[in-house]
């Protein structure tokens, strides 16, 4: 196997060291764009980070906003992470999320006659199915024709982007300036868990956390999880051992897509109460970062989602201190770059001196 055998503690240490390095680089950039003497610039840096933390955790509304940002990230992180475990790279969470959200919204708009306890679960199932089908196409093509899932899911992302775009500007348009769908029936709206002033936070976060726990149980406590991991670890051995690899690939993609579809659904029924064509704004791609930082472990993914969610939320406030919020994307890109090139981190830390022995 090409992956170096890692000790267990390294699995936690590598992401943490990557985060620290990326924050150091971000600090240098912030000091660089600051003005005045060095001391002034240090003050500027401290102010920027203070605003960042305040923006993410400073008061009840801030915490709620962080949790709202975190919710879809947990699910797209799980989607990508589950795929990684089975050896498939689902780069299409973005498209699956959008298709899930669109389909769920179409259903939810027309669900007025159903009571909430039926409308909400049904809407979620519809959204998950849409995501599962969308990802399942890529799974099917990989299993049957060998088409690489990275290529097919990228194509499916752009097809989904254009379909959803068409839907909200054309047949499913609610009018008004911004392209958007009509509002969903109130019976399909996810109830609120917390409210603060004008903002609210739905039960979505609990559903996302439940999904993480379920994924943990599936991966570590069931024979299906064992099969998935075996296929991911060595498909040839899995086949030899009597596991149906084709079926497993399709199933993995479908589950991965269902998680992404659920992410989109929760955004639609828990936050916006409608569908804005360009919903995802990179949350599907963020799933890749989060799965990597969380090392494909469901609880690691929860922690990584909290980190990225907090950075994204806090960065809005940091803007007021004079640091463009794009700094967060720079931080995130450095983290995943380092986690991906973990040998780079190991070299920096001097951990792979024994590598020569192999």
């Amino acid at each position: 196997m090409r992956r170096m055998i890692k000790k267990k503690w390294m699995r936690i240490a590598i992401p943490i060291i990557s985060i620290i390095i990326s924050l150091l680089i971000a600090s240098i950039i912030i000091i660089w764009i600051g003005e005045g003497s060095f001391a002034d610039r240090i003050d500027f840096l401290v102010e920027a980070y203070t605003e960042l933390i305040k923006g993410a955790f400073g008061n009840k509304t801030a915490v709620m906003n962080t949790i709202i940002k975190m919710t879809p990230l947990i699910l797209t992180g799980l989607a990508v992470g589950f795929g990684f475990r089975a050896g498939v790279f689902n780069i299409g969470a973005e498209g699956q999320m959008a298709m899930g959200a669109l389909t769920a919204t179409i259903f939810a708009v027309n669900a007025a006659s159903l009571p909430s306890f039926i409308a909400i679960p049904l809407t979620m199932i519809v959204g998950m199915l849409a995501g599962a089908v969308w990802a399942g196409i890529a799974g099917f093509l990989k299993a049957k024709t060998g088409a690489h899932e990275v290529i097919t899911t990228i194509m499916l992302n752009w097809i989904a982007y254009n379909i959803t775009n068409w839907a909200v500007t054309g047949p499913f348009n609610a009018g008004g300036g911004i392209p958007k769908s009509p509002e969903i029936a109130s019976s399909a709206k996810l109830p609120n868990l917390l409210t603060s002033q004008a903002s609210f936070m739905s039960f979505g976060i609990l559903i996302a956390i439940t999904a993480a726990v379920v994924m943990y149980i599936i991966l570590y406590k069931t024979s299906m999880g064992y099969e998935v991991k075996t296929v991911g670890f060595n498909p040839f051995a899995a086949e030899y051992g009597g596991i149906n690899v084709s079926k497993n690939i399709i199933l993995t993609m479908a589950i991965s897509g269902a998680l992404a579809g659920l992410a989109g659904t929760l955004e639609a029924i828990g936050l916006y109460h409608r569908f804005y064509g360009t919903l995802s704004s990179g949350k599907g791609f963020d799933g890749i970062s989060i799965a990597l930082i969380g090392q494909n472990n469901p609880f690691g993914i929860l922690a990584a989602s909290l980190l990225i969610g907090a950075l994204r939320t806090g960065s809005n406030q940091m803007q007021f201190a004079g640091v463009p919020k794009h700094i967060v994307m720079i931080i995130q890109s450095i983290i995943i770059f380092l986690v991906a090139a973990e040998r780079m981190v190991m070299t920096i830390m001097g951990w792979n001196k024994k590598k020569g022995a192999k």
Binding site: W166, F337, R343
Partner: protein, 319 residues
Amino acid sequence: MNIFKAILDAFANPIFYSLTLSAATPLLFASLGGLFSEKTGVTNIALEGIMLLGAFSGIVGTALFGSPWIGIILAMMVGVSAAALHAWASINFQADQIVSATAIILLAQGLTGFLLEPIFGKPGSTDIYNKIPKIELKFLGKGSFLYNMIGSLSPFVYLALILVVVSWFIIYKTKLGLRIRAVGENPEAADTLGVSVYGIRWFGVLMSGLLASLGGAYLSVGELGQFTENMTNGKGFIALAAMILGNWTPKGALFACLLFGAADAMNEQLQSNPSLAISSSVKPLFNLIPFVITLIVVAGFVGKTRSPAADGEPYEKKG
């Protein structure tokens, strides 16, 4: 039946052809770039990010030095640097190439968005600067069909077409090209024969940065004269699709890019046709055609594409 007439009208309109060429140009640069990288066995889905960096630094160079030509040089330097990051991580440290490229895309979006305000004083977009002048073929007669078709094109268009031939020549007719293909198909064998696998792969990835950034620079200093946030808007991914659809060959990439460019141009023409009154909501349906075609071809339902055998596989030096 109006639509068929409108399509025929478009084909009869010389503007359609010049629009096709100019829409295909940025895709062609990036496709050829991706081709160099993938031929050596390194996937590069970061084309989108490198194009964005190219578009941005093209305008930065133009704004700072007053000449779009310097903008292009800066764009190429930045594009090569971004590609070097990808090469360093994915070749020397055997990082997952898709992940490393994803990081580059994110970095490009972050950096261009971040620097926009400090450099140009406002977020979202820059002012309009000098563009690279178009090449006027006056001898075709201003207003003639041929003139409207190809008489006033950006030098980038010619450069892209020349690069198709140059790429073909390098990859299939030179010693370097033989090594590129060997490393992409069977790095172990190439290594045994004394070819530097890392060196060739570095070359391929850096070429992808150089070419993709030119494609991006075309968008800003070649066409629009300004940079707007995320202005590549998926063009890097279309270029990737074109490279795949073209079966990893320069000629194939050319035809695929022209096809995608034509789809784009047809879209423009049909939208602007007054007799049709096509609402702009139909536009996305046209835009998805290239991706559907690529998906069908990749799936092997029509034709068959084949990537280099070691594409995407990190290689670890022996000994």
